[in-house]
Symmetry: C2
């Protein structure tokens, strides 16, 4: 965390997102159907459904996750200065989540460091009255990894669903060069308000604002909101091809590229093994994916692409350079199980 205390206290990126612990299990293809999930997507579940799906899984491995938090960890692993705003409960999973980000040098929002006493009591009451793992616990994401390396997710948000304006650490957000927002948060009215406040603070501090639309289902639920943001509130948009087709209401890649150009934003359109297309008002360019010997687990591929892209932009790279770094980071993350970098990503910067 030394680096964040040097020079002017500016941060390259401040990310706002759902704080989740990933529960990762390898499953056979048929488990996706038995869990009534749609392959390669994320579904929000209540606690009961989360438990029923968990019961279908074999032994799992737990690690810190959350889309924007994975991106924050990636920027830190690249050597960037980064902050994170999210909401955890004062339980074991919350401790894991906060520890793992802080240990990478990510600066945490004030409210994540000292859980208010009232909140702690509330948790205790719930535990006394019910069972472990109530809605007031830290959020968790069941990640089902099929033999093809694809990941299908069932997320129980827990306290992450209560993120609100008060959780936005405005002093932290105001230090960002780029504010990075997770589309998943649009599912929740108080979080949506919190995002809008964070955008105001960022604009006030002359920071750029980036949004990832997160998931096709998420685009389906919030298309009007996202289009409104695209038209006046944000500067950088991350979407994969399927999400972009839905967002712009188009049916081909060419049409999406045209629609993206018209927004005037910098758009990073990811296409998995086909690489990415970077679109700006002046034109567009295709950037190939980095070949991976064997895809083990695609969890975090989009998150780490965003990490490389944001690091590149905030370290003097043009968007094409930034996209190349994004591809390198995505390649690292799909070559092992889990959504947080295992390698020292700094060496990727040199390449």
């Amino acid at each position: 965390m030394d680096s964040s205390q040097t020079d002017d206290g500016r941060l390259d990126v401040v990310a706002v997102g759902s704080a989740l612990v990933d529960v990762v299990a390898r499953v056979e293809e048929n488990v996706i159907g038995r869990a009534q999930l749609v392959k390669s997507t994320m579904e929000l579940t209540d606690l009961d459904r989360s438990r029923r799906i968990y019961d279908l899984l074999g032994p799992a491995v737990e690690s810190s996750g959350g889309s924007a938090a994975n991106t924050a960890a990636g920027v830190a692993a690249l050597g960037g200065k980064v902050g994170y705003v999210g909401k955890v409960a004062p339980d074991g999973f919350g401790a894991i989540f906060a520890h793992d980000l802080a240990a990478m040098g990510v600066e945490l929002a004030g409210s994540m460091l000292v859980p208010p006493t009232g909140h702690l009591d509330a948790v205790a009451e719930e535990v006394a009255g019910g069972e472990m793992g109530e809605d007031v616990g830290t959020g968790r994401c069941l990640v089902l990894v099929t033999p093809d390396g694809e990941r299908t997710m069932a997320t129980h948000l827990g306290v992450a669903s209560t993120l609100d304006v008060q959780d936005i650490d405005e002093a932290l957000v105001a230090r960002a060069e780029i504010l990075y927002l997770e589309g998943y948060l649009w599912d929740l009215a108080p979080a949506k308000q919190a995002m809008r406040r964070a955008i105001e603070v960022a604009h006030g501090a002359e920071a750029a604002v980036a949004l990832t639309v997160s998931d096709p289902f998420c685009v389906g639920r919030h298309r009007a909101d996202f289009l409104e943001l695209v038209e006046g509130e944000i500067d950088i948009l991350f979407a994969n091809e399927e999400e972009a087709l839905m967002l712009f209401g188009e049916t081909s890649l060419d049409q999406v590229i045209d629609a993206a150009r018209e927004t005037g934003l910098l758009v990073a359109l990811t296409r998995g093994a086909a690489g990415s297309v970077i679109i700006g008002p002046q034109g567009w360019v295709e950037v190939p994916a980095v070949r991976v010997r064997s895809v083990v687990d695609t969890t975090g591929a989009g998150d780490l692409y965003a990490a490389g892209f944001l690091y590149g932009l905030t370290h003097g790279g043009d968007p094409e350079d930034a996209a190349r770094l994004g591809s390198l980071c995505a390649a690292e993350i799909v070559s092992h199980l889990g959504a947080r970098p295992e390698d020292d990503l700094r060496r990727l910067v040199d390449r």
Copy 2:
């Protein structure tokens, strides 16, 4: 869990041990010293010390652990019928631990399935009065993996330290062909009593009793107790070379082999990359280790050796065959991070 319900309800192995969640982090060599730990050993810590060491670690990955539980998981992965007795708290880590064993088909002791309400309230009170992660939480083992693949452990036992006679599911123990006990439990007076009761039940059911002495420090603390067990209570002994030298008070491998022969037990003496020596009243035999291309993490090597050995013995193998299977299982576990098998171990049985 189907297999345990077939035929006569007999189980190959019932394991009794400390129920722990492993918190595994790769560390540089110098972190061991900064944490004031002794490399390649396990140290018991109170909650404060556990937290201070955790603060020194980088991002970690959490997964179910516990020495005897790893062995139980290994026997199940080999296709054996196995039960487990341990103690978890009604928290997230407890849920992980119970899920991961049950998901492998390990039958859990009754007390692990439905935590008594009184206990649940006790946890809630502690949480309300203090901070998360009190002594009443599920135990955790910080596993520091150095670049050479060696693991150094700091264990905070949490509720595992309160295992007592009431936790011994006698009906489960009585179904075992071999009762397998973790030496670590000898650190705790009520657990020691619980072990003695389990031994009585096993003997009453004509089961064999196996003990692993677990750790050189553990032998140092409980040498007299362990020697008493060796002289009259147990049938099978697992120890590595260092532990056996301490236990028998000898200074060379030859002397240890002689001392082990005199006990009349079946002794499996593990020697890391040098393989193992199997000693019985009639003589002894050396069994080589299985070569591993690259040792990633030695966590669980002894536990999985025991799994292969116990599976071999309970499936018609002679001790030498059993030791070969033990070596194969140990080789699988050291080739990846974590102490639970990743591969389908059944194919090892065929080899």
